[in-house]
């Protein structure tokens, strides 16, 4: 297990996308965003939901960080490693696909 952000397979041009097996919907009981996948459910806190909603295969990692920094009135630099860590946790669960810059040409 390595939590060091610099070891993540994320570059600023990577476009994260939720894995095909996962989908999101609003939970009727809590109003939170629920991330559903074969083994279970994650009820996301507002920050997690904001990150996951940007995992659409369109936004690059850099764009995600910029968008979130604007929304939470924070600096991209301070947010970057937190977002990367969160994405890495989703990736470890197999819930995230990372489209590299090269792939996106095709």
């Amino acid at each position: 297990m390595n939590d060091e952000p610099h070891n993540l397979p994320l570059s600023s041009g990577t476009r994260p996308r939720l894995a095909a097996k996962a989908r999101v919907q609003t939970d009727k009981i809590s109003g939170k965003l629920a991330l559903l996948y074969p083994e279970g459910v994650l009820l996301l806190n507002p920050t997690g939901a904001a990150i996951v909603e940007l995992c659409d295969g369109q936004h690059t990692f850099q764009e995600m960080v910029t968008t979130l920094a604007a929304r939470y009135k924070s600096s991209p630099n301070s947010l970057s490693s937190d977002v990367a860590e969160y994405l890495d946790r989703l990736r470890e669960r197999g819930l995230l696909e990372l489209i590299s810059e090269e792939d996106s040409y095709w």
């Binding site: 939970d27 009981i29 996948y37 074969p38 279970g40 009820l43």
Partner: protein, 395 residues
Amino acid sequence: MKDTKDTGHAEITSQQMPTSSPQSSVPRPFGLLAELTYRCPLPCPYCSNPTQYPPTGAELTTEEWKRTLSQAGDLGVLHVLLSGGEPLLRSDLAELVAAAREAGLYTNLITSALGLTRDRAERLKAAGLDSVQISFQADEASLADSIAGTPSHARKREAAKLVRDLNFPLTFNVVLHRKNLGRLEAIIALAEEVGAERLELANTQFYGWAFKNKEALLPTRVQLEEAERIAAAAKVRLSGKMDVLYILPDYYGDRPKPCMNGWGRRYLTVNPVGDVLPCPTASEIKWLHFDNIRQHSLAWIWAESVAFNRFRGTAWMPQPCRSCDQREIDFGGCRCQAALLTGDAGNTDPACSLSPYRDVLNRIVDGAQQLLEGETPSSHTTDLQYRINPSHSLT
């Protein structure tokens, strides 16, 4: 339905889940196990279905299941396992998948895959089925078919390919026991070969038919140590490619499994005739009455029924559970296992080494340690009692 008791919803229990709303002491359910039928083309001797089927009552109709799924969504359920028996024997399966999706549920099909034709699979895809779990019995046909009690291995392999062709996420499930543990490495290789995203290596849990067959199915300690080593190595080797889950055999543990993550806390089961149970094997507790979806709403049964409240929380617990610091972690283990092994569902699960009834379990485990002369673990299946299908009155 093979091992949904322990593995089907493993992650719904992660700490992100609130245990209950502050206003109410009754938690919300997250997962529904819908046992659509007890009928099955396979007579697997480890099946956890009841050995005595409900004496009366027909299977729920399409409309009754649709109403149940809708009520489950309203109650907060987010996940449904469509299981059985063999759910593909319900000709209305695609219609029920669509109803579950409409109710906001993530839909998982738990199947032997017998009967999964391309036409059927495409209709399920169109209805919104999210995920498929196929059970395998071993890595190759002769052993697999003798465990399954019917020729099926080759058809499962074809069905697994079909499932991947249609881009369903595939979980490869195998129930492990004395007869197939020695084949674990080859089983893992098969799961890789068919392109499974997830592999559930589920040691047999002894309920229903499996309990009847426990002497024939219980592995030796040596077999288990080897299997754990192989599973751990595979988990590392396949990281990022296939998720490998190894379900511990609780007869060999020191602490009981947190069965269903607590009675009436996360999950509910609706059986083929509409009885609503806190867990799929709860009918092992003979004196407990389970209310039926034909008479009551799912919400009422979940919150108010005697059965769901009988072992909810910690107030029911005897010692040593009541004062144990693990009581909110393992919830005293499994009520059905306590009933089966001690005769009283209210006892501490003997799978806990602190249980006053631990010796009952130790005797069973000790009896399993010797391989009989000439016995290789998979050499014979003549000592198995195969599952019997329910009578046609249920169909």
